[in-house]
């Protein structure tokens, strides 16, 4: 057992746990979008950022990846963290203005309208679906394709995957509802776009 303090409360957790896991054990709230307890942490959304103090120096880390250490001091809700999270959620809200979960998180953090121009995306590239496909169903039918602003989740060559066995785990973990099930079939965001590749 390793002792650390989160928001001034002394807590104990098993060696190798992350700050987020320790906090969840004690019902200390840290917002997340890309975390799932059954999957390996990834650190995509950065919403779970917290401030840690070590050797009198404070820095910001993502709590879903940062492993706990003896005597670690964690602050989950400082002014600095709040500002950081507001920035992240503002960008996410601009990217996905119609997603309920992001709207709720934004409202919670006091962001009502993003200053940036709206895009009408659903996917936030959190990689939960990719991780489910890799770690749970072990099919690896989904992965990220392209880079930079064109990065998206897709099956190889945008073709229906032969590997996929319709477990729908990707749709279940998707925090924004970007992956849907329509008429008993998985529907990904890229299927609705005009692509040069054939979709059938």
């Amino acid at each position: 057992m390793i002792a650390l303090s989160i928001d001034g409360k002394k807590v104990w957790a098993k060696e190798g746990s992350t700050i987020l896991e320790a906090a969840r054990l004690y019902n200390i709230y840290i917002p997340t979008l890309c975390y799932h307890p059954s999957l390996s942490p990834y650190g995509a959304c950065r919403l779970c950022s917290v401030e840690v103090v070590q050797r009198d120096r404070s820095r910001i880390v993502v709590s879903c990846l940062f492993q706990i250490e003896e005597g670690l001091e964690v602050k989950t809700n400082t002014e600095r963290i709040q500002k950081l999270r507001r920035g992240i959620i503002e960008l996410l809200l601009a990217r996905c203005p119609s997603t309920e979960r992001i709207q709720n998180l934004a409202k919670e953090m006091g962001v009502l309208k993003p200053r940036f121009s709206s895009e009408n995306e659903d996917c936030i590239l959190c990689s939960l679906c990719v991780r489910v496909c890799q770690e749970i169903s072990e099919k690896k039918a989904l992965s990220f394709v392209s880079r930079g602003t064109k990065r998206e989740v897709a099956t190889p060559f945008y073709q229906p995957s032969e590997e996929c066995f319709d477990c729908w785990g990707c749709a279940y973990v998707c925090p924004t509802g970007a992956i849907k099930i329509e008429n008993g079939k998985l529907v990904f965001p890229w299927m609705k776009k005009d692509l040069i590749f054939s979709k059938d």
């Binding site: 104990w12 059954s38 749970i136 099930i181």
Partner: protein, 573 residues
């Protein structure tokens, strides 16, 4: 029926109040068709029964009325005498003078009541003279309701006797409360070692069919021929296909707090087996939390199952079956600590079963004793006996019987896990009345230095990291304040049948606390008031494991006795 003999037992007349015996004799003698009236000292003495035998011969009696304290106790003895003299069982009528009586009658009233009762019996005898007993064949199959240690033991004994047994259990595994415990007093062996073999034996025995995750829906019929309807609840897993590999559980994406342990440690999945040694070792889906049922978007378990055993469309199914005898082994629950306002929410005030799970090697902490609130090792633990029991003003007047022993055991096991910790037990008095129990208590005090404080706790509340316990030691007359890390409550045992649909369907009598009433408090402690329905274990009263097993075997032997007969006499009512 022309010649009726009336035999008045003095003992029963005395029991009925101040009776003018001569007046009774005179009044009865003048009654229609009464040929012979005679008072006896004690009818139940065998030599006196010989006199009845002689009188039947000498006076050529063709109808007999006997007075006695209670027909339910004496009827069989009297019948044997009558039948051996060539009369039928229905040429005998027993007037129970002790039963249903108002004990505050005057001499005149009491005498009059006795005369009326006897006259009623004489009239009844004449009406039933044409009756012959009807014999009904017995269905030689038993139904055991409840898969705890009582149900398991009864089922095994009946099955070993060569008869079929249906073992119905409402959860998905048999084992009951016992399998939740860490180690059991007074020998400190673990239930995983002593109960699991019996559970597996049940599974293997070809005469036992385990209907886990099932509940009794309807019961009708009489001794020898009950018809029961059993609901097999949908587990959403086809148990005939499932081989218990556990891949579905490993892959399930939904985590739920572990309700089996009732502690804030660890999780279970939405598809789960409650504990490692479960029998049958098959998973069920928790519909309330499962992703498929809540959002319709996840079917990982059904796709991942190599046997294609997961079936989301499964429905509850019903089984109708005939049985000859029913054994109720429905067990107990602990009184909820929510009923006591001051214990309500604090995570560090736990009940016995929660502490058992903390101590258990199969529990969420793998046997490490940790405080539920912060995961720290508790250094000072206070155990409180008689919470809810022996408290007639607030809760229950009865003694829950096992708390003294299990609190001593827990204190002992706590000391084994945390040798530098200190255990305190507040008690009213120590009730250690089983074999080896007193020695066990002494061992806790002498070897493990458990501090026993005779007195009750007046108040406890949280103060920062600790729970302040205010109590009194009545032996030294001092008030005591302990800064405890953890408080364990010896909560009262309450019957799990209390207030359920099942008890209404069974139409059985219980006492006011919900414990099943037995046919005779002392002489028939394993029979319910309904013939053919037997009782085993804590559904009757609080019991420890040896008593439960003993009663379970006793109930099984009663069922076996019934099953050795081909027919059962249906009483003329």
């Amino acid at each position: 029926m022309e010649r009726i003999g009336v035999f008045l037992c003095h003992c029963s007349l005395k029991a009925a109040g101040d009776i003018k015996v001569q007046q009774v004799i005179q009044s009865i003698s003048r009654y229609d068709r009464v040929a012979y009236v005679i008072p006896y000292e004690d009818m139940c003495i065998s030599s006196e029964l010989e006199l009845v035998r002689d009188a039947i011969k000498e006076k050529r009696l063709d109808g007999i009325v006997l007075t006695s304290c209670s027909p339910s106790l004496h009827l069989e003895c009297f019948r044997n005498v009558i039948v051996s003299e060539g009369l039928s069982t229905y040429q005998l009528e027993v007037a129970g003078l002790k039963e249903g009586g108002d004990w505050n009658l005057t001499e005149v009233e009491a005498t009059q009541r006795v005369i009326q009762t006897i006259k009623a019996s004489i009239d009844r005898l004449q009406h039933q003279s044409h009756v012959s007993p009807s014999y009904i064949p017995i269905t030689k199959r038993a139904l055991v309701i409840g898969g705890g240690i009582a149900g398991i033991q009864t089922a095994l004994d009946i099955a070993d006797g060569g008869y079929e047994v249906l073992l119905v259990e409402k959860t998905s595994s048999i084992g009951g409360h016992m399998i939740q415990y860490s180690e059991v007093f007074p020998t400190l062996d673990c239930p995983q070692c002593i109960e699991t073999p019996k559970m597996v034996e049940c599974w293997q025995n070809p005469n036992i069919e385990i209907l886990a995750y099932s509940e009794v829906e309807e019961i009708s019929g009489e001794i020898g021929n009950f018809t029961v309807k059993i609901r097999k609840k949908a587990s959403y897993v086809d148990w005939t296909k499932c081989n218990g590999c556990g891949l579905c559980i490993q892959k399930c994406l939904t985590q739920v707090p572990a309700d089996y342990d009732r502690l804030p440690f660890g999780h279970r999945k939405a598809i789960y087996i409650p504990f490692a040694q479960a029998v049958p070792n098959k998973p069920i889906i928790d519909r309330e939390h499962c992703g498929y049922f809540t959002t319709g978007t996840c079917q990982v378990c059904s796709k991942i199952c190599p046997r294609e055993a997961v079936d989301y469309s499964q429905k509850d199914t019903f089984i109708d079956i005939n049985v000859g005898a029913i054994i109720l082994a429905t067990g107990f629950e602990l009184m909820s600590k929510k009923e006591i306002s001051e214990y309500d929410d604090d995570l560090d005030i736990i009940d016995g079963i929660q502490f058992e799970r903390l101590l258990s090697p199969g529990g969420p902490t793998a046997g490490e004793v940790l405080r539920p609130s912060d995961g720290k090792t508790p250094r000072e633990v206070v155990f409180i006996s008689c919470v809810g029991s022996r408290d007639p003003e607030h809760f229950y007047p009865y003694c829950s019987k096992v708390c003294c022993m299990y609190l001593a055991k827990m204190a002992m096991l706590y000391k084994h896990a945390v040798p530098d910790g200190q255990a305190y037990i507040f008690y009213i008095d120590i009730r250690s009345t089983g074999k080896g129990y007193e020695e066990f208590i002494q061992r806790a005090v002498e070897e493990d230095h458990v501090v026993y404080l005779r007195g009750r706790v007046s108040r406890l509340f949280r103060e920062n990291d600790k729970i302040k316990v205010y109590g009194v030691d009545t032996l030294s007359g001092r008030t005591i304040v302990i800064d405890a890390d953890l408080v364990v409550l010896g909560m009262a045992m309450v019957p799990s049948l209390k207030g359920t649909e099942l008890i209404k369907k069974l139409n059985l009598k219980t006492d006011k606390f919900g414990f099943l009433s037995e046919s005779h408090f002392k002489m028939r402690p394993m029979e319910s008031l309904k013939p053919g329905i037997f009782i085993a274990g804590t559904s009757q009263s609080p019991k420890d494991i040896p008593d439960t097993v003993a009663q379970a075997s006793a109930a099984a032997s009663k069922v076996l006795i019934l099953f050795t007969q081909e027919m059962v006499i249906q009483e003329y009512a």
